[in-house]
Amino acid sequence: MSILSTGAGELLAQLNRGEITSVELTQACLNQISQNDMNVGAFLHIDQDYALEQAKAVDNKRAAGESVGPLAGIPVAVKDVVCHKGQPCTCGSKYLKDFIPPYSATSIEKLQAADAVLLGRTNMDEFAMGSSTENSAFQKTHNPWKQDYAPGGSSGGSAAAVGSRMAPLAVGSDTGGSIRQPASFCGVVGMKPTYGRVSRYGLVAFASSLDQIGPFGTDVTGTAALLQALSGHDPLDSTSINKPTPDLLADLNQPLEGLKIGVVKEFQADGIDEDVISATDEAINVYRSLGAEIKDVSLPHARYGVATYYIIAPAEASSNLSRYDGIHYGHRAEEFKDLTDMYRQTREEGFGPEVKRRIMMGTYTLSAGYIDAYYVKALKVRRLIRNDYDDAFQEVDFIASPACPTPAFKIGELINDPLAMYLSDMFTLGANLAGIPGISIPAGMSSEGLPIGLQLLGPPLEEARLLRAARMFEQATDWHQKVPELVAQ
């Protein structure tokens, strides 16, 4: 097996045993990028020298017998929405084309403390708004399995980088499914932790009550190791959870006994792809064969999820994005009449169509006369959605469903139909509204040869058990070992 087709967990073990060096691994990733990224478009920014410098430093530390961090020497790609001091952070927006953050996000500092190699910055939908990465102001990202298909979004660059084995691990952010949906489309593992598990300090805000940073990986073990490194209370983010992070790796290989998995009646709706339905059924059968009890559960308000989300997320976005005023950082229009016109023209020039659409939607639902009917109403339904999950988790340990109603769609297929695009988040956004953790794992292939992901959702703070459940599936199947053609075996 080549270094690139080796899973992230095994790569970490080989680094630790001294069987491979970080320079070898990093160079292999850089080669994979230089040979294929012109066709995939996963990365917005790569600094080869900086990547190799970090790799060399870790190898030297190891050679000198110094203690090294838990991610020592493994390359990690980072979505271009997490500030890294001195590196570009465009958020896929023309507005922040030249923005160089003067400080690093807590996540970046944690990755550095863990001795990870920060490989490069990945493409995304502008300000993380989208489900296909087509809303990037800079480039399209292509699905590594089939180039005319989208990689999903908004963390499409991170998912495509891992899917095409340009990086064994990557960081993304998930506001309504932006890690789990592209993970499903690209055939990799992607996880959204419990809200507050990972600090949002230095994550450029989209919808603050829903945003959460999380890991992508070529396997569950690597994903768990990355999440472990990212997690923890941060005094700089007052919404981060002030509780110790459990050890996510200690019992990872130990199967869960007496597992109860819920299947949601309300998720069995029209419009779900046949291949997705059969892959999900087969995945549930795998759990059954591993001794799990499968139970029907009800989420009576699930059908209101998309509407609730597409009120709350744009409302928060319209408020958060008011910071882009042409004064403190980023773009400023050259020609304008007065101060107010400077704001208007700067924002008109700096933002793309989807960002404007969401700002308009959010401004409308927050405006006088409409706020109670839309925004406050959505917050109330949000509580009912959360209560549904709480009730369901009285009955079962986890909820299994497709990550997405379809495999990857074609680039251009949904871009002019915002509502259809939003509906592709129908299975994922409930976890953001409720604040619960969720993971997508490779669980099948469509007849067209595109990956299909299984989503598992768990109760708040149950990441360790959720990862163990995912690992059980991984140990029983080989979907995670399938790689697209552009990965040399």
């Binding site: 005094p235 919404t239 404007k356 308009m360 939607m361 405006s367 509580r383």
Partner: protein, 95 residues
């Protein structure tokens, strides 16, 4: 269907200069979304408290300890216009 006037009003609140073409595209798109989200009307929420945040914490206190602020050059480094000390903005008050 939202009127053209509605779109103009919201664009003004959102501080966005929109072209006539953008407005004619946004009108049906936003109207469709507004119609879609109206489905929430059928949910009885009379006795339900709004849920503002996923993890409901209140009063997160910390000790009042001084720490070094972001240096001025760092804060100004990305600004479109500065004089090296301050952010420069267009004239706000008429003489």
């Amino acid at each position: 269907m939202l009127s053209e006037d509605d779109i103009h009003k919201v664009a003004e609140l959102a501080r966005l200069n929109l072209s006539e073409q953008q407005i004619s595209e946004l009108r049906p798109q936003l109207s469709k979304l507004i119609d879609y989200v109206a489905v929430l009307e059928e949910v009885d929420t009379d006795e339900v408290e709004p849920m503002v945040h996923a993890i409901e914490q209140t009063n997160v206190f910390r000790d009042d300890i001084r720490s070094p602020p972001l240096p001025r050059e760092g804060a100004l480094a990305n600004a479109p216009k500065t004089d090296g000390k301050y952010f420069l903005v267009p004239q706000i008050i008429e003489h």
